[in-house]
Subunit: 138 residues, 2 copies
């Protein structure tokens, strides 16, 4: 398993305390993180603005991907495969648990193809499923 320093170097990014801390948080967390989650965890050590800028940098470098939500929020999660800048290939299903509220990358579940009406050209697709996760099922 790669650690945070490896990931930063692999992407030719400066290795800084804040980047390491935020990346470690992603690595240690199962489930996606919103900006607010990160802020709660590390805002004693780093500035809010740094979190914004770090998330943007990670996203641009294909270190994290985004998950759409319906609450004026964006969730972020680590990219498993090597995603290139601007060209992510994380077309897996995301699962949001209504009970524990975790968002889980189902890396092995690919977003299925759909047949669109004539003229529509699909480029990226995202699928979010809500329900009860395997943990909370019991």
């Amino acid at each position: 398993m790669l650690d945070s320093i490896d990931i930063l170097k692999r992407n030719t990014l400066s290795v800084t305390e804040s980047r390491k801390a935020i990346l470690d948080l992603f690595i240690d967390t199962d489930g996606a993180l919103a900006h607010a989650d990160i802020e709660k965890n590390i805002s004693n050590d780093f500035d809010r603005v740094t979190v914004y800028r770090t998330l943007q940098t990670f996203f641009e470098n294909g270190i994290i991907h985004q998950i759409p939500t319906t609450d004026n929020t964006v969730l972020y999660a680590l990219c498993k495969d090597k995603c290139e800048a601007g060209h992510h290939h994380d077309e897996h299903v995301h699962f949001i648990c209504n009970l524990c509220d975790k968002t889980i990358c189902l890396d092995e579940v690919t977003v299925p193809q759909v047949k669109l009406p004539k003229g529509f050209k699909p480029l990226q697709k995202a699928m979010v499923v809500k329900g009860i996760c395997a943990e909370c099922k019991n």
Copy 2:
């Protein structure tokens, strides 16, 4: 086609100027609307807070549904079928055009079933496809 007054009455909601105006905007617009879009169109006549409260009311009554995004925004679109409070059945694909930036409800394209890992219980699902829409294709 039902007009805004019909829709409000059918949902036992008071018929007010702001609700009519916002609902008419949805009816007249092809494509989904964000809070900001609505504000631009009607904010001379109604307060921002009224827009928030109206969207919430419409959503709770199944008049509009939400579309998840990755830009700290929520899109709303009219429900075609009669959705009941809290129990929407708008599981159609949404298409976001990278060029004209419209979000279109593909009412005839159902979100496909996916096989989830053991233990996950799906309750709702959403699918958003980005690309070039039929209008912009030409």
